[in-house]
């Protein structure tokens, strides 16, 4: 079984559209949405949920007002300004500001503070028309966690093993933080989706740095490459200098947005289009690399 992660740095570069398109051409694969903060892949995969699991998030402290003596020791220790006096008197903890360090719990002289793990996050095992699908939903305001990413990837790996799937395909999270790290460690290849904008290039550079530090083979895909040719060229130069092969590219194609509105992948929506042909090529090359360790025709 081989695992691929699709990443883009900045949001909105078309990562999910690319993943969905690959999902419709990849055979015998398990899909996994690593973007747990703002999951979107399920909108196109339209999954039928088979299992729902609660994910225990960060600790959140709260004060038992019956026991609290209003001494204020907790407030003076809190480094996050999460503990406040109520207008009508008494102390309370703002759960959105609480970092879950549990120091207040330890310093409270009367044991009025307890912490509980947030139960506001869920992950799901589903069936989709492309194959098994593992995805998650974080509660709003929850701490963005690499652990939830690890959890969904573990489950996807297990399913792949049990069903004899050849591939696990991860739709990666945006950014370059902890969850992006969790989504690339231990994968066999990363496909970087880049949109030729100043900020797209900027983010791509930071991601290349990150993926290289893990020595994971890295490939690129350029989306909307005809929007501004000058920056596309700059991106191509940057990728060549860094030995990153460009597996494919899309021009600006209204089929992509229309397919999204129709809740289909672009391959399903416009099977004869150049866009579809291009993504098929990308997957063929990726598959060849994963199977024999080199890229065909480049």
């Amino acid at each position: 079984m081989k695992e691929v992660t699709i990443l883009s740095g900045k949001g909105g570069a078309g990562k999910t559209s690319v993943t969905a398109a690959i999902a419709s051409v990849a055979e015998n694969a398990v899909f996994c949405d690593n973007d747990v903060d703002a999951a979107d892949l399920h909108l196109i995969l339209n999954p039928e949920v088979k299992e729902t699991h609660t994910f225990f998030g960060a600790w959140v402290a709260s004060i038992d007002e019956d026991k609290c003596t209003n001494c204020g020791i907790c407030k003076s220790h809190c480094h996050f300004d999460a503990i406040h006096y109520r207008e009508e008197g008494g102390l309370y903890i703002n759960p959105f500001q609480c970092e879950g360090c549990r120091l207040c719990e330890r310093v409270c002289p009367v044991g009025a503070i307890t912490s509980e793990r947030s139960e506001n996050n869920f992950w799901y095992v589903s069936d989709s028309r492309f194959g098994p699908f593992v995805h998650a939903k974080m509660g709003p305001g929850e701490e963005n966690s690499g652990k939830l990413v690890t959890e969904v990837r573990r489950k996807a790996g297990e399913i792949a093993k049990a069903t004899g799937a050849d591939f696990v395909i991860n739709d990666g999270p945006p950014g370059i933080g902890c969850s992006a790290i969790s989504s690339v460690t231990g994968t066999n290849a990363v496909l970087l989706v880049i949109e030729p904008t100043r900020s797209g290039l900027h983010d791509a550079r930071r991601l290349v740095e990150l993926v290289n530090s893990f020595k994971i083979p890295l490939f690129a895909f350029i989306n909307k490459d005809d929007i501004i040719v000058e920056i596309t060229k700059e991106i191509e130069r940057y990728l060549t200098e860094n030995d990153i092969a460009i597996l494919g590219r899309w021009g600006f194609d209204t089929n992509i947005v229309e397919s999204m509105v129709d809740k289909k992948s672009v391959v399903e929506y416009a099977p004869g289009s150049e866009t579809t042909r291009s993504i098929k090529m990308v997957w063929e090359q990726m598959k060849a690399f994963l199977e024999v360790g080199k890229v065909v025709g480049s």
């Binding site: 600790w59 120091l103 933080g177 949109e195």
Partner: protein, 299 residues
């Protein structure tokens, strides 16, 4: 006190940065020149890309207090390890090794309380910097830039806000994408939130998450529909059902997308788009007039 507005969106790529930059420009032209833009997307600050001629006015380093363990005083009792909820401390008694990993540390201060031997001292470790720039638009731009790999987004956002000590009429916060902690921190003290979305199923899905969060936080908000004309009508139905204000629609056009790509945004905007920003400014103006701290009686 300034009137504070956050520009947020659940999803990345909806045009939040474009709206922030243009909105500052529109406010500066129409309402007040004392308007500052603060880029709170500290992991990937992109606002400055739109001001190629910006001049850096000042730069300040932001530090996180990270504990350091003095191994001469340390008795290797591991109490600090037990107190640390973030697994940032490694103590190996036989090796005489005790160290704090700064990138895992949340600076909560628990280990200092735990240590009975006076072996822990907090030292400042740089986590990023705040840059103030003169952009030629209003009061300019304030940007927080976090070091790659640091987990201190909320600290950085807090410090960025604290660094704005001058009295502006309006301060705009360009929020990070998503609905997690850094977004909560950004909108925590604002008077109004402008949500930017696009009329696609992705846009709607993420907008719903964001609306849920803002209702939880009890913040007033309105929606700007960017790339109007693309996608479908579902988003309008949702907004209508929920009785949420549409501040403006910004039409999609490919030439405009090209301008975004090249970072060239503040000139040659087509009349329709200009009209959209005027509408946003008008809606904000109504709210601003009702704002207690406002000394806006010029008109």
């Amino acid at each position: 006190m300034s009137y504070r507005i956050a520009i947020a969106s659940g999803k990345g790529g909806t045009g939040k940065t474009t709206v922030s930059v243009n909105l500052q420009n529109a406010i500066a032209n129409q309402l007040t020149s004392a308007v500052l833009l603060a880029d709170c997307d500290v992991e990937e600050p992109n606002d400055r890309i739109f001001f190629p001629d910006a001049k850096v006015a000042s730069q300040t380093k932001v530090h996180q207090m990270v504990p350091e363990i003095d191994t001469d005083k340390c008795t290797f009792c591991r109490k600090c390890v037990e107190y640390c909820e973030f697994n940032a401390i490694v103590v190996l008694p036989p090796a005489g090794f005790a160290e704090v990993n700064a990138s895992l540390c949340h600076s909560c201060g628990a280990c200092s309380v735990a240590c009975q031997d006076g072996a822990i001292n907090e030292k400042p470790v740089p986590v990023g910097e705040i840059t103030r720039m003169d952009t030629g638009v209003g009061g300019g731009l304030a940007e927080g830039n976090l070091k790659v790999g640091s987990a201190m987004q909320t600290l950085m956002i807090k410090e960025l806000k604290k660094s704005i000590t001058e009295d502006y009429d309006v301060v705009l916060y360009d929020a990070p994408p998503g609905t997690s902690c850094p977004v909560v921190e950004t909108v925590a003290d604002v008077d109004y939130v402008v949500l930017v979305t696009e009329p696609t199923p992705f846009g709607l899905n993420d907008l719903m998450l964001m609306v849920e969060l803002l209702i939880d936080l009890d913040k007033p908000f309105g929606v700007v529909i960017n790339k109007a004309g693309l996608g479908n009508r579902d988003i309008y139905e949702f907004l209508n059902e929920q009785n949420i204000d549409i501040l403006a629609e910004i039409p999609f056009n490919k030439a405009y997308a090209g301008k975004y790509a090249s970072g060239d945004l503040l000139t040659d905007i087509d009349p329709e788009t200009t009209e959209s920003y005027l509408n946003i400014v008008k809606s904000i103006e109504e709210r601003y007039l009702q704002y207690e701290g406002s000394n806006y009686f010029k008109w």
